[in-house]
Structures are given as structure tokens and as C-alpha cells.
């Protein structure tokens, strides 16, 4: 059984906004025989708007602590994140530790305050990278027991799993991996021009109306292209595009009611998992379109 160190992040805590991702990822890994060993006592990565409160060093210190804990608890294991922002923070911090000796030295000093050390050699991974690179496309297809045939899905990659690092060298402007995942479950990936558009991210809190304008464009594009569901790897994308549909409908006099799911939920369902194992009971917009495969 392949084991990874796991950094779930705040949104994947119990009863947090991405609990449906956490639950489905858990079952997805169970089916694949992957063990995720959660970093004990991890802390927040400060996500994308941490910059305003903390400078670069305090922000990197947050992530360095997570690396240090991971190194102590799961020596040498890749650190897997499911959240886009968590993964990005790991990637950015790791990159700067590797390339800037000054940063590395400063972080060593900071870690010492908590009696921690990090030698700088862990590899941050996104869960989709694990699926593509370690599990492989053949396995992802071979596991299918209930092909989601006929299901039309818009693959919504969003921003931070795509930019600035990207997944497995995929193209920033038109990444393919998510469509391939959708197709691997037997479903159909519809053309989706808003594939890499921004949902507003954290601005959904502070600039809600602007965010809703962006969300509306994404929903409209999915519906126009015949999608019955939107699938994404990102917890912020999922949350924003799902829960603000009511608000969008009010603002624009529209009637969007399209489920927004995680790739992990599609896999669990296609691989024979139950509705609950796929956490499809945890949707705010019910995943009615998938009921025919339950």
C-alpha cells in the first residue's frame, strides 16, 4: 500500500466547506489502496489572501512548519494536498527553499523557535498528480465498474491547480487532464471555454457581487455547452460556483441549478462506490443528474 503524508487544509476539516471532497477523496484512496497519513497538528497555509496580513516570511513560516511536521512524522514521504491553495503554498515555499539559500536560512531560524527542523527535501504533490503520475491513466480507467455513460460534464480546472505551476506539465490556457479524468469515468467532457476562468476566489467574501459576476459566466458557459454537472479539483471553485447559484439567480434573474462536484466524487461513483461514499449527499445543489448511476 502506497503511503503519502497528507495535508488536508482548513476547508477539509470535519464539517468544513470541502467535507464532501475530504470524504470522497478518502474513499477514492481506499479503492486505490493508497494510504493518506494526515500530518498531525498541521496549521493553515494562509491561502491566497494571507499576503495582506503577513509578509512573505511569516507566510512561508506557516508552510515550513507543516513541512517540518511532515518530515518528522512521515520521513521522506511526499506531502499530498487536495486543496489548490494549500498545494500552491507548499509548492511556492518549497521552490524558494530550494532556490534561495537566504530564505532557507531564515526559515531554519524561525523553525527553531518551535524546536522544529526541515531539511528542505520533501516533494509537495497535488492529489491529481498522484492519480496521473503514480496511479496512471490505465488504472484510473480499469477501476471503472459503473461507467458514467452519457453524463455530460464541464471540467472546471480553475486557477490555482493550473497556474502558476500547472499539473504534470499541462498547458495553462487549455489544460487537458481534467477532461481526461472525466472521460476516464465514462462520462463526456463537454467543450468548456471557461475551463480556466477565475471564480473570484477569496473575493467572494469581500467583493461578493464582482465574484458573482464571474461565477455567472462560468455557470452560463457550462449550461450553454450542455453540461449536467461541473467538476473541479479546487475547493474554492467548488464552493463559490455551487453555493452562490442562488445569489447569482437573484442578481441576474437566471435559474441555474447545476451540481458542482469534485473529480474524486465522480471516480468513487464510477468505481462502484456508494452515493454516500462519493459524498454526493453533501451537495448544496443536489447531484440529481448522477442519480441514474447510483
Amino acid at each position: 500500500m502506497k503511503e503519502y503524508s497528507f495535508y488536508p487544509g482548513c476547508s477539509s476539516e470535519k464539517m468544513a466547506s470541502a467535507a464532501n471532497m475530504e470524504n470522497s477523496v478518502h474513499h477514492m484512496c481506499e479503492i486505490l489502496g493508497i494510504k493518506l497519513k494526515e500530518i498531525d497538528d498541521w496549521n493553515c497555509c494562509s491561502a491566497s489572501i494571507g499576503y495582506a496580513g503577513g509578509g512573505q516570511l511569516p507566510r512561508m513560516a506557516l508552510t515550513a512548519r507543516n513541512f517540518a511536521l511532515s518530515q518528522a512524522q512521515s520521513p521522506g514521504k511526499d506531502v499530498v494536498a487536495t486543496c489548490a491553495a494549500c498545494w500552491l503554498a507548499l509548492r511556492e515555499t518549497q521552490e524558494r527553499i530550494e532556490e534561495e539559500p537566504v530564505v532557507k536560512a531564515q526559515l531554519d531560524t524561525v523553525l527553531k523557535e518551535a524546536n522544529l527542523t526541515y531539511d528542505g527535501h520533501l516533494k509537495p504533490r497535488h492529489m491529481v498528480e498522484v492519480l496521473i503520475e503514480d496511479v496512471g491513466w490505465d488504472q484510473l480507467k480499469a477501476k471503472v465498474k459503473k461507467p458514467l455513460k452519457g453524463l455530460k460534464v464541464a471540467g472546471y480546472v480553475g486557477c490555482q491547480t493550473n497556474r502558476p505551476f500547472g499539473v504534470c506539465g499541462d498547458n495553462f490556457e487549455d489544460p487537458q487532464y481534467l477532461d481526461r479524468m472525466i472521460e476516464a469515468t465514462g462520462a463526456t467532457a463537454v467543450p468548456f471555454p471557461k475551463k480556466v476562468a477565475c471564480c473570484g476566489g477569496a473575493l467572494a467574501f469581500s467583493e461578493n457581487e464582482n465574484a458573482c459576476k464571474l461565477i455567472k459566466e462560468i455557470l452560463q458557459s457550462a449550461v450553454d455547452n450542455g453540461a449536467e454537472a461541473i467538476v473541479t479539483p479546487c475547493p474554492v471553485c467548488q464552493l463559490n460556483v455551487e453555493v452562490y447559484q442562488g445569489k447569482v439567480n437573484k442578481m441576474f434573474n437566471t435559474r441555474f441549478n447545476i451540481p458542482v462536484l469534485y473529480y474524486s466524487q465522480l471516480f468513487v461513483l464510477a468505481w462502484g462506490g456508494s452515493w454516500e461514499q462519493a459524498a454526493l449527499n453533501q451537495q448544496v445543489v443536489p447531484a440529481t443528474a448522477l442519480q441514474r448511476f447510483a
Binding site: 489572501i49 499576503y51 503577513g54 516570511l57 511569516p58 506557516l62 524561525v110 523557535e113
Partner: protein
């Protein structure tokens, strides 16, 4: 007189990634790539922000809402033909506006990011989403707070029903909180130098 370089030189030196502003060749790919551009949400895109720094327009730029419209989508960063870390430069300028006290006190993202979000992390080590929302909604006092809550109640109810919102908003600290706090303090201290 415009283009007095004293402000630009301060930014190059003191704002995170600020020195990169010199390297902008003003092609405008960043501004054209910003998702907020078509919404008319900002008065200046990154290119215009940078040119204002070079033109010495300190008050205008640090007091503007432009940098606070960044969603961190990183479109500008991957498209910049000069390879400038534009997203980070914009973040750095936003933070510089906070540090220099030039940011408008009513700037909603600035308030949320500093007073709510960051404090939330610092207090416990993790973000409690429910607490985060409550903080945000009540930031302007109890009156607007309640109306904010009412406006968002459908969302909250949906989240509660799907077991994706904890009805008990305040979580405890992480176990290693003391070390965590010391680390942060040290990091701030080092950065000040």
C-alpha cells in the same frame, strides 16, 4: 512634478517583489488577462499600477482599491512575456499600502484579509470557516451584521444541511500553538530587519 523617483525607489526597496516593477515593459498582457478587468472592478490594471509607481503617484496608488481586486488567479503571472511575478508584485504593493497606513479603512478586501482572515489564523493556527464568516458579517457592527447574515442565510442553511458548516463557530487552538506563535513572531521580527 511627475516622475520624481523617490516613491518608486521606496517601493523597489521596501515592497515585496517591488523591485520587479522596474522590469515591466508595459505591454499590458497582465491587465488584459485580469478576470476583474471586464467587470470594470478596478480603476487600474497591473500595468497602470506599475506606471503610476514609476510616475511617483504615491497617494493615488496606495490609496486605490486596484491591488485589492486581485483574486490570485495567476493569469498575469503565467502570461507576462517578461516573466514578472505580477501577482506577487500586486500582493506586495497591497501589503505595502497596509504597512504604510495608506490603505483606505473601508477597503473591504483589505479589511477582510487583515482584520478577519489573518487574525483568525494567528489566533488558533487554523481558519475556522464559520468564525471567519461571522467576523466578516459583523465587522461593521451588529446592525449590518444581522442583515448580512440574513442575506447569506440560504447559503449557510445549505451548508449546514450538507454537513459542510460547523454550527459551533469557534474552534480551539492547534496543539503546538505556542511554538507556532513563537515562529510567527520570529518571522515578523526577521522580516522587519
Amino acid at each position: 512634478m511627475a516622475y520624481n523617483l523617490s516613491f518608486a525607489r521606496k517601493v523597489y526597496k521596501n515592497a515585496e517583489m517591488g523591485h520587479w516593477i522596474k522590469m515591466c515593459m508595459q505591454c499590458g498582457v497582465c491587465s488584459g488577462s485580469c478576470p476583474l478587468g471586464p467587470l470594470g472592478a478596478w480603476e487600474f490594471g497591473p500595468r497602470e499600477i506599475f506606471q503610476r509607481v514609476r510616475a511617483g503617484k504615491e497617494e493615488e496608488i496606495l490609496g486605490s482599491g486596484a491591488m485589492w481586486m486581485c483574486t490570485s488567479c495567476y493569469n498575469c503571472i503565467v502570461r507576462c512575456p517578461r516573466g514578472l511575478p505580477i501577482t506577487h508584485i500586486v500582493h506586495g504593493l497591497a501589503r505595502y499600502a497596509v504597512e504604510t497606513g495608506k490603505v483606505k479603512p473601508t477597503q473591504p478586501t483589505a479589511r477582510f484579509a487583515t482584520k478577519v482572515f489573518w487574525n483568525n489564523i494567528v489566533k488558533t493556527g487554523r481558519v475556522g470557516e464559520a468564525a471567519l464568516s461571522m467576523h466578516l458579517y459583523f465587522i461593521d457592527g451588529i446592525g449590518t451584521g444581522i442583515s448580512n447574515v440574513l442575506e447569506m442565510k440560504d447559503v449557510a442553511l445549505g451548508m449546514l444541511k450538507s454537513k459542510r458548516l460547523n454550527p459551533i463557530p469557534f474552534r480551539g487552538k492547534i496543539k503546538g500553538y505556542d511554538g507556532f506563535k513563537k515562529m510567527l513572531d520570529k518571522a515578523f521580527e526577521l522580516e522587519k530587519k
